[in-house]
């Protein structure tokens, strides 16, 4: 089955990013396809390349990057949520070498259309939030 997910909450302050990640691990193990993870609202803060949690804690951003590297899961950050919150104003992003330098490895930036596509294409769309 094709499953897509939506993450609406920031990492660490809420368990949403953890729950979604564990869910995805189990879904992949069960042979399902994770079609896309769409980061919306404060969920976009899951994509900040420079997050540095204390050494004895899980690195949530890196988990997402690894998920893309190992399983090719499509990680999409909503551009309007991101601009509103200051994740990637173009002028600064350019200094850093474009959007991809503000986002951690494996994430890409796109509009709400990709959320709709995920909802329509996938058999299930599951939201994790605050």
């Amino acid at each position: 089955m094709k499953i897509s997910l939506q993450i609406n909450a920031s990492p660490y302050q809420h368990q949403a990013a953890d729950s979604a990640w564990h869910f995805i691990q189990a879904a992949i193990l069960s042979g399902h396809e994770v079609y896309r993870v769409f980061f919306y609202h404060d969920g976009i803060f899951n994509a900040l390349r420079d997050a540095r949690p204390p050494g004895d804690e899980r690195d949530i951003v890196k988990r997402w990057s690894d998920l893309n590297a190992k399983h090719g899961v499509d990680l999409v950050v909503c551009v309007s949520s991101a601009q509103r919150r200051g994740l990637l104003e173009q002028t600064v992003a350019k200094k850093l070498g474009g959007y991809q330098a503000a986002l951690a490895d494996g994430f890409r930036i796109a509009g709400l259309g990709l959320l709709m596509e995920a909802i329509i294409e996938a058999d299930r769309h599951i939201t994790f939030g605050a």
Binding site: Y40, H41, S80, S81, L112, G113, L115, M116, I119, I120, H125, T127
Partner: protein, 101 residues
């Protein structure tokens, strides 16, 4: 709310059949005379009023929630149908996708 409505409008733009259901205190989102400007907040009532432009005409409020709050449909921003809980539940049941706010 603003970003939730963005999803609603986008779904309509993708030719999805959209039903908006207001239940519990969600009904308050439709109250007339919201003065968001006193707090300089975004005024969502304009979006609600524009829903029909986006071909979203199916807006339901839960009858029981209206009664519990003593709210009449003429106190709301837009024309809505007050629908009993069990009917709403059936409509939600038949949806492919349910988003909650």
């Amino acid at each position: 709310m603003q970003e939730f409505l963005d999803i609603v409008l986008m779904a309509a733009a993708f030719d999805q059949r959209v039903v908006l259901v207001f239940e519990g205190d969600g009904i308050y989102a439709l109250m007339k005379d919201q003065q968001a400007e006193v707090l300089d907040l975004k005024d969502n009532s304009l979006i609600f009023k524009a829903l029909s432009i986006y071909d979203i005409n199916d807006v339901a409020v839960e009858k029981e929630s209206m009664q519990a709050r003593a709210i009449k449909t003429d106190q709301l921003l837009i024309p809505v149908v007050a629908t009993p809980r069990h009917e709403l539940k059936q409509r939600l049941q038949s949806a492919d996708q349910v988003f909650s706010l």
